[in-house]
């Protein structure tokens, strides 16, 4: 997010998400379905440079870790494993909030190579929210054992985002993964994610809403995605926009409660 002042983001990450990123660090959100080896990827990338705690005010664990690639420091934030980013549960809401409002430089989506059909649902949802996406097809070793072949180059072309095959347990593909993260974080690669088109009626409604939303959002969120959520009747998004995107805390008693939660890092 080049349009956003880095200092402001550092502050936002610290206060709203309990994450301490330094100004020069690139922030990567790590998303994925449960059981895709997401945590293995996290551990393989960050090694022992980790810090675990909770999301502020939520009983959902969060892990943050750092790694350096070619002199660039990265802060990797492990999000809860979810099947979806539509906020049915606290886990899903945490994951969505961070991708939407935490302004990560890149969102890395880890998918299970043996269950692509199920896993790509989440990837498509992330791609609706942000263009800054890298896909990591993990558990390639298991897929090979099961005789599953995945055409990575074709997948990357169809999705319009960098795709890397990994077997994090054997530390395979991690070098390339770091390379692609650096590419996207620094703008060497500008992903152009495939956009899911809905039925004509829905598309019509989206374009009407987009017209009104674009000037309001000022590029902070994708108007198309917000339009879709509004059509979905998702009220939580409106509350979240108020919580994360308004400059001054509103004089609303329900927001007052949020402020009592310590914004500092939970002590391990």
């Amino acid at each position: 997010m080049s349009c956003m002042c880095i200092e402001k983001r550092t502050e936002l990450l610290h206060h709203k998400f309990g994450i301490a990123a330094s100004a020069e660090q690139k922030v990567i959100a790590l998303a994925g379905n449960p059981n895709t080896g997401k945590s293995t990827v996290f551990n393989a990338l960050t090694g022992l440079n980790q810090h675990t705690g909770n999301w502020p005010g939520k009983t959902v664990g969060n892990a943050q870790g750092t790694f350096t690639h070619k002199g660039q420091s990265f802060l990797l934030v492990d999000l809860p494993g979810t099947y979806s980013l539509l906020p049915n549960s606290v886990d899903e809401q945490v994951a969505r909030d961070f991708i939407c409002f935490g302004q990560p430089d890149v969102t890395l989506v880890v998918v299970d190579a043996t269950a692509m059909e199920r896993n790509l649902n989440l990837a498509l949802q992330v791609m609706e929210i942000t263009d800054q996406v890298v896909l990591c097809v993990n558990l390639m070793d298991e897929a090979e054992r099961k005789g599953i072949e995945i055409n990575i180059a074709d997948l990357s072309k169809k999705l319009g985002i960098p795709v890397v095959a990994t077997a994090a347990r054997q530390k395979r593909g991690l070098e390339e993964l770091q390379e692609r993260l650096l590419d996207v974080a620094c703008g060497n690669i500008v992903p152009d994610p495939f956009m899911l088109r809905y039925s004509q009626e829905i598309e019509q409604a989206i374009s009407e809403l987009e017209l009104k939303l674009t000037p309001l959002l000022k590029g902070a969120l994708k108007a198309r995605w917000v339009a879709l959520r509004l059509l979905d009747g998702d009220d939580t998004l409106l509350q979240d926009i108020e919580r994360y995107m308004t400059e001054e805390p509103l004089q609303d008693p329900s927001l007052g409660r949020e402020q009592e939660v310590s914004p500092s890092w939970p002590q391990a």
Binding site: Y83, S84, T114, E117, R118, N121
Partner: protein, 84 residues
């Protein structure tokens, strides 16, 4: 416009070992959302894997993952059994 299908049954009536193709989803709200996220969309093939000792919930194989569904939720998924 619902297409009439001769042998539409609720998923809950599938016996362990049999398979069916999803026709429609009558669940609403959160349950509907959840089922769609788990990959229960029309045309999906679901296999009934096994029933728990008390008869509820039942494990189903959906798009490569085994998922337990309560009878009340499975009732809201209309399927067409696949005879092999």
């Amino acid at each position: 416009m619902a297409k009439k299908v001769q042998n539409a049954v609720p998923l809950s009536e599938l016996v362990p070992g049999s398979k069916a193709r999803v026709l429609t989803l009558s669940a609403e709200g959160m349950v509907r959302r959840r089922l769609l996220d788990l990959g229960v969309v029309p045309q999906t093939i679901i296999e009934c894997v096994r029933r728990s000792p008390i008869g509820d919930p039942t494990a189903y194989r959906i798009r490569g993952t085994t998922i337990g569904l309560r009878k009340d939720d499975a009732k809201q998924i209309m399927v067409e059994p696949i005879i092999e």
